[in-house]
Amino acid sequence: MTQLALVIDLNVCVGCHACVTSCKQWNTSGSAGPLADFEPYGKDPSGVFFNRVQTFEVGEYPNTQTVHFPKSCLHCEDPPCVPVCPTGASYKRASDGIVLVDYDKCIGCKYCAWACPYGAREVDSERKVMTKCTLCVDRIYSEELPEAERKPACVMACPTSARLFGDIHDPDSEVSLAIRDNAGYALMPEWGTHPANHYVPRRKTPMHIHEDELVRVDNPLKVDRLLPKPAKSEPSLDDVMSW
């Protein structure tokens, strides 16, 4: 069984919001109609976004890390938003595991949004239906796009390749490797939703300097070791210069 998902590398994300804007651009231009935007240039703008980048500060000054945290629908393997939907508008595709909303069936009761612990769903108050990340279902299978571009818009836009896309049930896929090799984890595991999207944690990049890296082992004359060393009784360079 296929389970398409995003793997987001928090070690690489720089918080540029390119995934946010590219997501909005693609999804507001699709056949489902524009996403609501109220007073986009006014005093109190509001509107629908499927993807947000949030920023957290971890630790206490001076030992802090700024973590940029992109958040969209996690396409849970056991999505709590699907069984509660009274009309069947909210569903999970058996073929690829994407959780979608059928906009023609949705009655806009918002119950699914209440049933999502991650706050991944947003009501479009213009279309009066529930909306959410579709994993760019209209891109990834589109035959009009070159094959290299059949990826979610956010993945295409990410300048640091912090967002990977693929099948997490395929053990050899790029996303499965990223999860396995870099300790990818799921959000709020306590609710048993089994999110398909995973996050790869911050990693320290330690520098190991060995003795043989300081001293050139291939130097036959050992010039490095023969630097002039004045005796303790002789004036040092500092003493000379301070005249």
Binding site: C116, A186, M188
Partner: protein
């Protein structure tokens, strides 16, 4: 959680309608077994059913106002296998149909005897409709409450007490209305209804206080650490990703201060329980029966406050992601 006033009206109005129907049929059952004088003429049940039906219709109408696309509401019956909301959508009209039929059967005096008990008591069509209505009334209470109680991460709701509260609070308001109704048209039942209303209101108080105590002792399971998956005791949000409003910042927060929340709690404890208990007890002790109408009005307002508090108290884990604008 922020709530639509329409959901507030829906849950309280149908609660009154269900409780009131249960009160009506309780009288018929008592009369059937000779424990109460039977109500002469069909009008007691017919008028009563009409009142119950009116409350149910009002609740149903109110429910449409919280839908984005009310014209598609019929679709909501589709997923009854998995969704408590869908089950409610099926049970509510079914119950309304039975209430209407129950009233109509009494009105035209349609008493087709279906069975006779060994003691000679005839079980006629009105009794069967009443039994069916009773089952559906309880089913509707369970459906309405389970819509909230089935969400595990809304821990203030995910409890058996939610279901018990919906049953007892709906029952209490229905029986109080029945006491007022009896005082208008059939005074010999006033004390019967007032007595039951008093008992159910006190039971409701006990279970509501139990759920308040339970909720006060809840410790959150989700934290910022599990929300973003970083194991560090000190995490502070610096930006939620946008500075304008959004569904996430409006739908899941009640937007009132804790002081307001606390005062609403005392208001509903007084108006939904303490005052009606005093008024019902006073009537039982011989005070004028007109107080019963006041008791119902006060209790209904109290239940509106109770429902507001019920929604406002629920703390959605998604709020962990929206704690600082920038």
């Amino acid at each position: 959680m922020r709530l639509d006033f329409s959901v507030l009206l829906l849950t309280t109005l149908i609660g009154v309608g269900q409780g009131f129907f249960l009160a009506l049929f309780t009288v018929q059952l008592y009369a059937l077994f000779g424990l109460l004088a039977s109500q002469d003429g069909p009008m007691f049940y017919a008028h009563g059913s009409l009142i119950s039906f009116a409350f149910l219709v009002a609740g149903l109408v109110a429910s449409f106002f919280h839908l984005g696309r009310p014209a598609r509401a019929w679709r909501a019956a589709a997923m009854w296998r998995t969704s408590w909301l869908s089950r409610e959508v099926i049970v509510l009209p079914a119950f309304m149909g039975i209430v209407f039929s129950f009233g109509a059967a009494h009105f035209v005096d349609f008493r087709f005897v279906l069975a006779t008990l060994p003691s000679g008591i005839a079980i006629d069509s009105t009794v069967m409709l009443g039994v069916l209505g009773t089952v559906l009334a309880f089913a509707l209470f369970v459906c309405t409450a389970m819509i909230y109680a089935c969400l595990p991460f809304l821990r203030e709701w995910a409890s058996t007490l939610t279901v018990i509260n919906y049953i007892l609070l709906g029952g209490a308001s229905g029986f109080t209305l029945a006491a007022a109704f009896a005082s208008w048209i059939a005074s010999d039942l006033t004390r019967f209804f007032a007595g039951w209303a008093l008992i159910i209101t006190l039971l409701g108080l006990a279970s509501r206080v139990a759920s308040l105590i339970r909720n006060a002792r809840l410790k959150p399971k989700s934290s910022l650490q599990t929300a973003i998956g970083i194991k560090h005791p000190r995490i502070a949000q610096k930006a939620m990703g946008f500075m304008g409003g959004s569904f996430n910042t409006l739908e899941f927060m009640h937007g009132k201060s804790n002081a307001v929340l606390r005062s609403v709690k005392w208001v509903f404890l007084a108006a939904a329980f303490a005052l009606p208990v005093l008024l019902l007890a006073a009537t039982l002790a011989g005070a004028p029966a007109g107080l019963l109408t006041l008791a119902f009005v006060v209790q209904y307002v109290g239940l509106l406050a109770e429902r507001w508090f019920f929604f406002a108290q629920a703390n959605h884990p998604q709020n962990l992601y929206y704690q600082a604008v920038a």
